[in-house]
Amino acid sequence: MTLFGRRDPADPTPLWRRYLRFHRADVEADVEDELRFHLEMSATDLERRGHDRSEAERLARARFGEVSAIRKWLLSHDRKRQHREERADVMDTILLDLKYAMRKLRHQPGFTLGVVLVLGLGIGAATTMFSAVDAALLRPLPFQRDDRLMSINGLDIPLLEAKGAKRMAELDDARAMRTLFTHVAAYAPGGLNLSDVNAPMRLNVALMTPDLFATLGVPVARGRGFAAEEGKPDAAHVAVLSDGLWRRQFGADPSIIGRDVRLNDVAYRVVGVMPPRFGFPEATEIWLPLTIPSTFSQYEAFRSYMPTTFVARLAPGVEPASADAALTTLIRRFQTPERRAKSLDNETLEPLRDVLVGKRRTALLVLLGATGLVLLVACANVTNLLLSRAIGQRSELALRAALGASRGRIVRQLLAESVVLALAGGFVGVLLAYIGVGALGSLMPPSLAGAAPARVDARVLMFSTAIALMTGLAAGLWPALGASHANPSETIKSSAQSGTSGREGMWTRRMFVVAELALALMLAVGSGLMLRSLQSLLGNETGVNPVSVATLELTLPQVSYPNQLSRRRFFDDVIARALATPGVEHAAVVNELPLRGKSSIMLQVLAGLQAPANEDEMKFAQLLQTTPDYFQTLGIPLLRGRTFSATFDSARAPEVVISESMAKQLWRGEDPIGGQVGPAYGQQVAPTVVGVVGDVRPWSIESEPMPQMYLALANSAPNNAAILARGSLAPTALAARLREAVRAVNPTLAVYNVRPMTEVIAGAIAPRRTNTYLITLFGDVAVLLAAIGVYGVIAYGVARRTREIGIRMALGAQRNNVIGLVVSEGIVLAVLGVSIGLASAWALRRLLASLLYGVTPSDPAAYVGAAVVLLTVAVIAALVPARRALLVDPALAMRAE
């Protein structure tokens, strides 16, 4: 290359490439010329040696060989080479543009940093939400063909100990529909104590029918899964470990297979280990067979009821709708007419993923949409920054145009700058997303916690790179096109200063600010509605006073605590020890903490023992088993009568304390005290009502108060229980005391969820709180960005009108007039933006409806509040440059120019 000329040191493009750029080499002609030259020269030489012309030409060809084959080879080679060179040429130009852009941006660190941060925030928020949406809704679950997996509602697993006729369709009935489903499996997530390690611990356990892994299409990594006979009630105890538990607890020892682990003091033979990152459902650490029929002993892993999910894999070619119809017919056959009427609107068959993601789908999509709006605001802001910068650079660009840079070249150069900015912003955004994904927490569906956690992976990186590029192009295109319009001769003629007085850019910039304000207002309305929902939720009486209360949960293994007496003694001992601790005033045991976020068992009850003619007159009541001090410990008010007596007396009739709602709904204004709660449920004597206490929200703050009844724990001490204490100690210290009390009674017992009661309640509203905080955060960012946008455009206007302001002041304009002049421009923009935003928010209000609680999506306060906030912010943003306008010195301003 160096042979053909000296290279320009400033331009890395080789000369021949630049030559090619002007005269694209004609490959065909060149090959033809070269070959013809050879043959003619050869023939001429031969002719000179005495051959006649035609003989010479023949000889020349013979010496050359197969001309057409050589020609073909050369053509294909040269064409390929030309493509290669052109590609390299384009890459060279792009690299050059980028290099130049970076050099230029380095010289404006303030501008660059600002833009990168603004874009980083926008892209970071969008990336975080995308990773959440991707994990929960888009990315295939780590199962085979997850689109063919359905969840079945309305099935049952028979209980070995149950008596009486079959009341529901059972798992085996669905399995019998072999033309519809290749597999039907069931699973239920729960918890058990791992008892044979140094520190006892609580494990997430899932009971599953042996064919669950086959149904999902996930193979066991080591050992084997469950055999069909291990799904029978009398089969040997076997277990499959998660990869995480195997590594953490058993040091990844391959010989674990065939050894025993003790769960709730029962030995289970480990038969397999699952592959890494498989923890389905929830974050399961150990799987056990769910037997058919199931037995009471299997209920140890759950609190009072088994939260079973049925999964079916559709047979090839079967439409979900036809399977649904057939299954619904089957299920209805077992239903009484009343139950049939109630379950009408429930779909029998739903895609598994929809069931697993549940209600969080809407929240995720709304939040992703919100980040999209934030990104748009950021984009508009950056566009405006680039516009003002482009106007500042106009003379430089005009000069370059005059020196022969093409328009495309200038546009490309400016776009390269915005793309470099956006890519840097994308980098910052991905860093933010790494942090943000960890904070998603309760936003993600818990049932997918182990199987599809949100994470920043290659897909997510591709997404953020793509949106960074798009943002860069979108934000840069307008300013670049605008700047390239500049008429070189005019701009160069006028002085540099008047080069910044261009008027046409002003309207574009105002338009973008109005758009920003409108978008920010939509987000502000959304966050307003969400905040009002949270507020109305927090305004709900929970029915308990959680302050100064601590709690822990535990499970008494059936093997070690086989009867009422042993369990009662354990609870009595723990309570006695807790109460002996200084600073503990009350302590109690309950089978189920309120507001724990999980639904619990409900019993059909009636006032008195006479069964009503109509099943509908029976109510469902939540059954709670407590020690007498429970109401005092949690601050539940006693409204009438008394609580149970502290001592257990098997001779006396069982006593029951009922909630206010139960009293109202079952006794309808009559005095419940002394009444009996029926039916007797196999107990010898139906319990007698001795007191009425205040309602407690059952499992979440959103669920309405419902009938609740409290039985003395002494009558039937449960295996699963929570222990609570109230006292003057700090709740965390209180929790520690409780843990010590349990350890003193039984050091091998695992306790879990050791926490202040306030945390339990916080957990109950965590998903809503997260939603609200995120959307509010996005709203705040958008409002801030819009404020910066307003400030930018007004400040620019002031700078442009310095001379005008100076003249006005010289002519006697007052301070207020000047401020009014400047601020009114801001107000016009704000009013316009706010109006458009209000209309758009109103049009989209249905999107948010299902996320709200206690407010309607057309809640006027949210709209008015958002409008007021934005107008205020806009006025403040306009006031700052207005103050600067006051500093204009009339004399100087007029002399300038």
Partner: protein, 114 residues
């Protein structure tokens, strides 16, 4: 020796082409003539096969090409050695010489020595 370049030892033709360009740049036909003259017609090369060999040398950066006007006013593509081509020729030629000497030695050896 072999009539076809395909029968020549791998890379030999490239080496000969590079050698032909040591003194001055040359077009394809010129290279063919030079090879014929120097080898005294011992090396019969199918002339067409020069061109693929030239392209490969160019791809490897050992030679470069440009269009220029010949003495009798015709347009022709001239090839020239690049610096790396010169370097390559030096090392390859010495390898070749050592190799051919070794082969010669072996072929001349008395059978009894074997």
């Amino acid at each position: 020796m072999a009539r076809e370049s395909g029968g020549m030892l791998q890379g030999t033709l490239g080496l000969l082409i590079l050698k032909s360009l040591v003194v001055q740049e040359q077009h394809g036909y010129g290279i063919a003539r030079w090879l014929q003259d120097v080898s005294g017609d011992v090396l019969q090369i199918e002339e067409g096969s020069l061109y693929p060999a030239l392209r490969r040398l160019e791809d490897r950066g050992f030679i470069s090409s440009k269009w220029a006007i010949t003495d009798n006013n015709r347009r022709a593509r001239y090839y020239a050695l690049t610096r790396s081509g010169r370097q390559h020729l030096r090392t390859d030629a010495s390898t070749w010489l050592q190799f051919s000497q070794a082969v010669t030695l072996v072929l001349r050896a008395e059978p009894s020595v074997l």
